[in-house]
Structure formats: C-alpha cells, structure tokens
C-alpha cells in the first residue's frame, strides 16, 4: 500500500450531507473485476448530464456545470471537504478506489460511515474527522478563497490552513501505523499465525459444528 505521511493540496468543498456510496460510484461500474480505472466515473450521476456506462469514453460526455468538481477552480483538487455521514450505504471498496483514482488523498468531514471509513485506510486514503464548526469554517474559507490549500500531517495529526491555523485530529494507532509505513496488513496479521492456529484448535474442540460445513 502507498504510504501517507504528509499531503498539501487544493480543497474541493462538496456541500451535501449523507453522500452515499451509490453516489460516489454508481452500481453499473461495480461490474469491473479490477481495482483501478474508476476515477472518470467518480460521482458519475452528479458530474455528468447523461447516464454513464462502463467502458465508455467519459471525456466526450456532457458535464454538469453546477457540480463542484467540474468548476475550473477545483481542477486537480486532492482534498475533499464534505459534510456529515460521508460514505454511508454499501461496503463497496470501489468508492475509495474511485476517489483515489480521481486524485483525492484526503477527505475531511464531521463524520463518516463506518465501513467506508475503514475501507479508505486500506487504500492509502486518509479520512479525517473534524468538529462540525471547524468544517463549517473550512467550507467558508475554501469557497471564499480561490486556490485554497490545506496541509495535512499524519505524523503530527494536524490539518493546517493557509493562514497558519492548525487543527488536530484523532486516528487509531494501528491504522496510523499502517498508513505511515504503507504496510500490507495481511502481512502484519500473518505474524500472528501461531496465535490464530492456537485459537482455531481450541475452538475446534469446544465448537466442532463450526468446522464441518462449506466443503
């Protein structure tokens, strides 16, 4: 996995609560058996005026001029500023894959849905929870200032504004460790293979019915 230590980037404010995973990447694009290539279809139904199809050349489609990511000032944004309960709905990891493929590295919101939040960390994408009042302020500043960038430091766990104001955020130690070091967490778990075997052997004795199906 790609490591994440620090990132400075242009902020795109998406002023809408409860952005769900169907909105982030609609179902017709989940038919792909790959992990990449979802960027052109990120927020497909909001970004384009027509209904998108897999394997279509999206560069020829009509854009919705009202959608935030279609505005010239937000081109090449890499920090997505969002509202509460971002990523609610399904477990599709295609949602963080699409955000990543589009070029986002950080998502800031007052709250995230659990599964989406977890999926981000598996893909080198950093979701940051900040207090709603701070998020409100960042919305005002980013909408009011063209070229507004934020500096995100995972080591220090801070988000810093262009005027030098700094906000700290929480992140689980294990997730932070994996992200800072770009670790493959399957490899980390397999370091405990012996503990897994010990558990499994004991369980096989006490609950044998758990081991007799599926084959």
């Amino acid at each position: 996995m790609r490591a994440f230590t620090q990132h400075q980037g242009l902020v795109a404010p998406m002023d809408r609560a409860n952005v769900d995973t169907d909105m982030i990447i609609p179902k017709q694009f989940l038919k792909s058996i790959k992990r990449t290539g979802f960027g052109p279809n990120l927020f497909d139904e909001l970004r384009y005026l027509d209904e998108g199809q897999p394997d279509q050349d999206s560069s020829k489609r009509s854009l919705n001029p009202d959608f935030v990511l279609n505005q010239a000032r937000y081109k090449n944004a890499s920090v997505l500023l969002a509202r509460r309960n971002f990523g609610c709905g399904s477990s599709r990891e295609h949602a963080p894959w699409a955000l990543d493929d589009f070029g986002f590295r950080v998502i800031i919101a007052p709250s995230f849905a659990d599964i989406f939040y977890n999926n981000c960390f598996k893909n080198g994408l950093l979701p940051i929870v900040l207090d709603e009042k701070i998020v409100d302020r960042l919305f005002q500043e980013s909408e009011g200032t063209e070229g507004y960038q934020l500096m995100v430091d995972l080591t220090a766990q801070t988000v810093t504004t262009p005027s030098g104001e700094s906000y700290s955020f929480d992140v689980d130690n294990f997730r932070r460790h994996c992200l800072l070091n770009g670790l493959d967490d399957i490899g980390v778990t397999l370091e405990d293979a012996e503990a897994i075997r010990v558990y499994e052997d004991a369980r096989r004795q006490t609950a044998p019915w758990l081991f007799n199906a599926g084959n």
């Binding site: 990891e93 897994i196 758990l210 599926g214």
Partner: protein
C-alpha cells in the same frame, strides 16, 4: 461487575489477540462471497502468492448480476458481457481454490443473505462477514455479522481474521404488540426514522423487546438487514426457541450429539440481565404504522397516514437542504399526503424482503385482486431457488401471476439494478428493498421503501394505501 451484552459475548468468543495499540484480531467463522466484491480479493491473493487459510469457511454464490428470467440458460442468459465476466470470474476463482459455490443454475443459488440461513451455513454465535453491507442480516441468529470491503475479503481469505476495534453497545428495545399489517420492515423503518442514518455509527445494535421477540426469523432478518441503514454495521437479536427451531434440520446444521452441544451453547447467546448498554433507544411497537419512505435516505420515512414534510419547518439548515434536495429529486411537494403518491412500478424482493414469509404476506394482499392498470410493472423476485420452489409448492406463484405480477428467478434484481431490472428516469417504485438513494434502482429512479404487504397493496391500487384497509 456488570454482566455482558450479547455483543460482548460474541466479541470475547472470537478474540484471537488483543493488541497493545487497542486493535484486536477477531476470528471469522464464515465468509460469504459473491461476484461483485470478491474478484479483486482473489487477484490480490494470487499476486501475493497466498492461499486461503481455511477453504471450508467460505461459501459463494452469484447474486447481484444474475438475470431474473430464463434461468435455464445459466451464464449464457446474462446479456451484458461485463456482468457475465464477473459471474464467470467468481466461478473460476471458486473452482481454482476449491470453494463451495452455489452456481447460477443450482437450485440453492440465491441472494447470499437468504441462502446462508436457508442452508444452515449461518449458525447462531458465528462471526460472519461478506463484502456486502447487508451482512448484518445474519445477526438475527445471534451472530456477529457485518459487511467488509474487498481488501478485508482478501484479509479474511488469507488469515481467517479481521483487525477490529470493539464497537459500542446499543440496545433498541421495541415493546408492545405490533398491529395487524405491521411487519418487521415497518419496525426497522420506524427505528431508522427515529435514530437517523448515522444514529448507529460506531455501535453494534441489539434489537430486543416483546415486539422483536414475537417476530419470526424472517422478520428478525429484515430488521437486522437494515441495521446498516441506521449506520450500525452490526445488528443482532438474542437466540431463543424461534432461532433454534429455524436452524434445526438445515443442510449444514449440526446433528446428533453435536446438535445438543451446540444448542446448549447457543442458549447462552443473550445479553445478561445486568448488562449495561452505552445507549438505549425505546419504541412503542403498538404505535408503529405501516411505513413509507418519501425521500432519498432511509431516515426520510413516515407512517402511511402521514404526509411529506415541509422543509420550511426544519430548523437544522443541513437537514433542511437535504429535504429540499430530496423533494426535488423525488418530484414530491411539501405536505403532500403519502397516499397521494402515484406509482409506476412495484418491486417485491431483495435481501431485506424476499423470503417465504414475505411472499406469503404479499400474496395474501393481492389474492383475488388485479394489478392497477396505471402501473407499468409489478414484479416478485424470490430470494433463492429454494424460496421459489417453496412458494410454488404453496401456490403463491399462481396468485401473483393471476393478479398480474411477474414471477421471476432469484437474485438481487431491482434492489440495485446491476442486472437488467431497473427503473426508468422519474419513475416511482414501491420497493421492499433497503435503500432509496438517488439512482439506486436506476438512473433518475424514485424509490419508496415499504413492506411486502404495503408493496402488494400499492400494486393493486396504483398508489400508496394503508394495507390495513385492504385486510378488513
């Protein structure tokens, strides 16, 4: 010391290792696989040169992409080549690794969350995961069950474990007797209406109280299925006689001496009387009406006697904007009566409501009636080949067909429209599925979440109607 909640017990029983950094390794007893969220996981295994840790813990079936007509054609019946490749990829991966799969032409094929319990692949007390957020369904059996992303599907394949942090405990207690025509679906929609779509974020929810205890396993599955719509990855109901009676005699259920041992353990799977929950939410079951969602989030729901809300009355600016946006998308006016909403299509199916009891409830309403002429389509999609066979044995298919509903083959179908079953732009659908997000059932489609009985009532009238009026 306070007693343990059901979730505490399930957590402790699956704890392989507590790490110093607060994370824990949790053992997974069962992984269910389907074609949409597994291909990249198998590919990841191959690229890293890893093998599945325990093959017999996995069970697979294709469900999202399968067509609901012409099942005899098998994979050749999938017209969309991209969908076909995905189903073929699941078949190839399961064949390569030796994983049990109920393939498209197998009568045991169906929606993963229907076939797990049906086969006894889901057993009380198990930890169960699947690359699908509605895995919470299996919590109805006193399981620790939740959806995961594809990276975690790969993680479970490779290690039989997940890295987790313990969630908080929430009890949703529904006491009182449910009225006639009020189902598990109405209860869970009322719960989500109360706690909101993020109300359960960070919690494992246990559903309890008389009203929940009085439900069948089908009703409990419907409720746990939609825990995720209230933000909670995990929804659970304690084990009781209803649970054990349902599990007995299933193909993969234990038998003989092991059965007795298993039942003795399963009976411990309830919260202790002195267990402490971080949050308790209470509802009066006797006050719950049949529910209808009017907006684009499952929390945007009201009783059938109610009306579409007026955004001008909402104080919270973010919520007000959400309501305004939803009304615009849904083509509804503030204060419009729910029963005045005209429909274009009716969909009875999905992992929420496609089990035999759901079909019986819908059939009881449409029996002797006809689908309204104003509807373009009303379809019934059973949750599995075995549910379909059971329904046909009971003659439910004939009741549906005579009333003018289409009787389809099993799959996820119009719940998320990955196959050919979808809504057209601007069409209103009474749907027994779980999500009314924008575009969920088709580009520009407008979903209203209801129970099977309410969907059936809508099918024969062409608009929403209080199903209790048709039951008299």
């Amino acid at each position: 010391m306070a007693g343990k909640t059901l979730y505490d017990k399930l957590w402790d029983d699956h704890l392989v290792k507590q790490r110093d950094d607060g994370s824990a390794l949790i053992y997974i007893d069962r992984q269910l696989l389907h074609e949409v969220t597994s291909p990249q996981a198998f590919e990841g295994l191959r690229l890293a040169n890893r093998k599945p840790w325990r093959i017999d813990a996995n069970v697979a079936t294709p469900d999202h992409n399968v067509p609901t007509t012409d099942r005899a054609k098998g994979i050749d019946g999938i017209v969309d080549p991209v969908s076909r490749i995905q189903v073929e990829t699941l078949d190839n991966n399961c064949d390569e690794f030796g994983i049990l799969e109920f393939k498209i032409k197998d009568q045991r094929q169906g929606i993963v969350h229907v076939i797990g319990p049906e086969q006894g692949v889901t057993l009380p007390g198990m930890s169960i995961v699947c690359g699908d957020s509605h895995t919470s369904t299996h919590g109805a059996f006193g399981c620790l069950a939740h959806g995961i992303g594809t990276s975690e599907v790969e993680h479970v394949l490779a290690t039989q474990c997940l890295v987790q942090k313990k969630m908080k405990n929430m009890l949703v207690r529904v006491d009182g007797k449910l009225g006639a025509g009020v189902t598990g679906k109405d209860v869970v929609l009322a719960i989500i209406g109360k706690i909101g779509t993020a109300g359960g974020t960070g919690y494992a929810i246990e559903f309890g109280g008389d009203a929940i205890r009085g439900l069948s396993m089908e009703g409990r599955m419907t409720i746990c299925n939609m825990a995720i719509e209230g933000g909670a990855r995990v929804g659970m109901v304690a084990v009781d006689d209803t649970t054990i009676d349902y599990v007995k005699g299933r193909p993969f259920s234990p038998t003989g001496e092991t059965w007795g041992k298993a039942v003795a353990y399963w009976r411990t799977l309830r919260s202790d009387d002195d267990a402490v929950f971080d949050k308790v939410v209470e509802l009066d079951g006797s006050a719950i009406q049949p529910q209808v969602s009017w907006g684009t989030s499952p929390e945007m729901v009201t009783g059938v006697e109610g009306s579409v809300p007026d955004p001008a009355k909402e104080q919270d600016p973010i919520k007000r904007e959400g309501i305004e946006r939803a009304l615009k998308y849904m083509g509804l006016a503030a204060n419009q009566k729910i029963t005045d909403i005209q429909l274009d299509r009716v969909f009875i199916g999905s992992c929420t409501n496609s089990r035999i009891e759901d079909l019986r409830e819908a059939a009881a309403v449409v029996k002797g009636r006809k689908v309204a002429l104003s509807l373009k389509q009303a379809m019934v999609v059973p949750g599995s080949g075995l549910v379909k066979a059971q329904a046909e044995q009971e003659g439910l298919d004939k009741i549906f067909i005579e009333a003018g509903l289409e009787w389809r083959d099993p799959g996820c179908s119009m719940c998320l429209a990955m196959n050919a079953d979808k809504l057209g732009q601007g069409e209103h659908c009474a749907s027994t599925s779980n999500r009314n997000f924008e575009g969920r059932q088709g580009f520009g489609g407008r979903t209203h979440l209801v129970s099977p009985a309410m969907a059936a009532a809508a099918a024969v009238t062409g608009h929403f109607v209080d199903v209790r009026e048709l039951m008299n």
